[in-house]
């Protein structure tokens, strides 16, 4: 289980990185960030990139900043950066609640937030966060820069709408307004495993009614997404058992779950119902 040969590049600037990517994209050039997903697939020789462009030494990509009501997360910011809240508001708390579910401690020391999004594993917690919160994803290439909305970014299992010469340079998440409540639930066979399904919910309560409901589901379908019908079941309703059950049912009904030899679609659908309800209960109790 040794990776196939590749040419190694270690640029120091984003300009160099995207230039290298442009030069080698056609020749199966890949970005190496944390490597916690890519390197195992290379070990199995399921991935055989001819060129690896290591961005770990690129200046300026490892920072987290707040700008324009958003949290900007650079391409080499590691999962472990979120163990403690990175911002004082609800978003910081949400991210540090979610990060505990990502694989295990040593993996979180290397793996990156943006790398998870670009890898787009259906069971990625960060993909679920990005989808639920409508992240803006900043793609850089030698051709320039563009911003992709999360809903237009994930394109099925392990697939995104990034072009092959584009580097996901930054992810921007909305700093959630004060008073935003959230809950995150996932289910996996063992602690730290790829989740069979997960639910991230967030909402505010105004005048006794739910507002700005967000429900993101990951793990159950090929790509994480917001579930508008489930959110509609919440917005304007009084927080409580009935509204939560209605939202959970709506989320389950909206699913087109993946199936595999161990797990039926029905099981995943039931799981989504349970996890949404529990996440909502957690949010309400917080």
């Amino acid at each position: 289980m040794k990776p196939a040969p590749f040419q190694y590049h270690a640029p120091k600037t984003v300009a160099d990185a995207v230039a290298l990517l442009a030069a080698h994209a056609g020749d199966d050039g890949r970005i190496l960030a944390g490597g916690q997903s890519l390197v195992p697939t290379m070990a199995f020789r399921l991935a055989r990139p001819a060129h690896l462009i290591d961005i770990n030494n690129v200046e300026g990509l490892d920072c987290i900043a707040e700008a324009g009501g958003r949290l900007c997360i650079g391409a080499t910011v590691r999962h472990a950066a979120f163990h403690k809240p990175v911002t004082a508001g609800p978003l910081g708390a949400l991210l540090s609640a979610v990060v505990r579910h990502i694989a295990h401690y040593p993996i979180r020391q290397r793996g990156t937030f943006c790398g998870s999004l670009a890898h787009a594993d259906p069971a990625s917690e960060w993909c679920c966060v990005a989808a639920a919160l409508d992240a803006e994803l900043v793609a850089r290439s030698a051709r320039g820069e563009r911003v992709i909305q999360a809903a237009a970014f994930f394109d099925g299992a392990m697939t995104t709408t990034l072009a092959e010469d584009e580097l996901l340079a930054e992810a921007r998440l909305p700093l959630l307004p004060e008073g935003t409540k959230f809950g995150f639930q996932e289910f996996s066979r063992r602690a730290g495993d790829f989740a069979i399904a997960m639910a991230l919910v967030a909402f505010r309560v105004e005048g006794g009614r739910i507002a700005d409901a967000r429900i993101g589901i990951g793990g159950a379908e090929p790509a994480a997404r917001r579930i508008a019908k489930a959110e509609a079941a919440l917005d304007g309703a009084a927080p409580g058992k009935d509204a939560f059950a209605a939202a959970a049912d709506a989320a389950a009904a909206a699913m087109d779950p993946m199936e595999d030899v161990n797990t039926s679609a029905g099981y995943r659908r039931d799981l989504v119902r349970t996890l949404v309800r529990r996440a909502l209960e957690d949010a309400a109790a917080a």
Partner: protein, 160 residues
């Protein structure tokens, strides 16, 4: 095969000049090129944790990094834990609490726990179990590993 590059790795404070292909994993390089075979390879896909080393103080899977990425970083392995022949409190606690049987996973657990206790000696029981669930052991049932790490944490705190 691709062209090899010359790099210098700093393992337990000693420099090792090695010549490696870019694809050579840090784990293989530490073992075969630096001769430090205490770091074990159990799965080569980042799950078992037998190859855990400290990279600038943080536990990482050395099978999921390439050696070329570790140049200029401070690498610590199990061979560096004992100082002047004296076992570290964690090593001693592993012996005293029978926290190892075959010993294959032991270096990984020692490095994982060393990294975590150095960062947070007051780590709580639940969080400790969560961290220790990062690595696999097939012999002990984990009971004595948890016990040993807790006992070492107490020793380290008393010695502060």
């Amino acid at each position: 095969m691709t062209e090899k590059t010359d790099i210098t790795l700093t393992v337990n404070g000693r420099d090792f000049a090695v010549t490696v292909e870019p694809r050579r994993t840090l784990a293989d390089t530490i073992r075969d090129d630096c001769g430090q075979t205490g770091t074990h390879i159990g799965c080569e896909h980042g799950v078992c944790g037998a190859c855990t080393v400290l990279l600038d103080g943080e536990p990482v899977r050395s099978c999921l990094m390439f050696a070329v990425q570790a140049e200029g970083r401070e690498i610590r392995t199990v061979e560096g834990l004992a100082a002047d022949g004296a076992l570290s409190p964690l090593q001693q606690a592993f012996i005293d609490n029978h926290a190892l049987q075959c010993g294959f996973c032991t270096p990984g657990f020692l490095m994982l726990a060393t990294g975590v206790l150095e960062r947070d000696p007051d780590i709580g029981e639940d969080e400790l179990r969560e961290v220790l669930s990062s690595n696999l052991c097939r012999c002990t049932g984990y009971q004595n590993i948890v016990k040993a790490v807790k006992s070492a944490a107490a020793t380290m705190k008393a010695g502060r």
